[in-house]
Symmetry: C2
Subunit: 156 residues, 2 copies
Amino acid sequence: MSEGVEWALHTCLNLAWAAADQSISATRLAAFYELPAPYLNKQLQSLVRAGILTSTPGPRGGFRLARPIERVTLMDVVAAIEGPGEAFRCTEIRSRGPGAAPESDNKPPCAIDQAMRRAELAWRRELAAQTLADVQEQVLRSAPDAPERTRRWLAD
Amino acid sequence: MSEGVEWALHTCLNLAWAAADQSISATRLAAFYELPAPYLNKQLQSLVRAGILTSTPGPRGGFRLARPIERVTLMDVVAAIEGPGEAFRCTEIRSRGPGAAPESDNKPPCAIDQAMRRAELAWRRELAAQTLADVQEQVLRSAPDAPERTRRWLAD
């Protein structure tokens, strides 16, 4: 999984702590973690395309959350950054070479593909069950000053 | 996930269908699915290092299963090919930049890392719960002639 997922998740939490009507530039968001702004900008654009962020153009523009983080799951963010595809991609090698089963309209599904999908489904289900609000709640428990520190720095 | 996982899983099933004492070369195993032998060989060496296969050197050498497939889980094969690391790697960006929490010996774990790990654990648990024997059983139900076809071709 690309490091963009970590960047995107942390940045969404920061945006949740910013003032509600504040748009924040990619440069500013990147500086918060000393990330390369052009790369973070790429992830932010992906989040916009996925409907998680909105972006406002112009010199005072930037990014903010498109909806409350209670309605953004970890799965939403991972899918926005990594794409919606499966991690295990069956390329149907069983249909190639001398071992190939006879062609049939009614080919049974590949047992390996199905087994791998079962595991991936468990992963997706778990990601979909956790919202950014759940994560935020946990951060608040261990670092109660994080929102105020973040908000102050982003507002500067 | 690399396509090597699909190759490795299918090839392990084929080895399970080969005669018990038969070592099969990477070239032969690759030809079964028209795969590039040097690349498949790399995956087979990884499976040897993980204790899933054994290899015998020499002109009549090759690969065979090191233990019954009842004791090889999908997780074993995935870890052998992809490495034991987590798919989501926390690089602790929260400790960088102006937003960094004050250094402390007692730093609370990163809530995002923990949430991502929970999902990955669900995936690993599912992969660890399925053995190659389970997958084989399913193949047998949908393609009862697969073992005989495979055995015959590999024995040629």
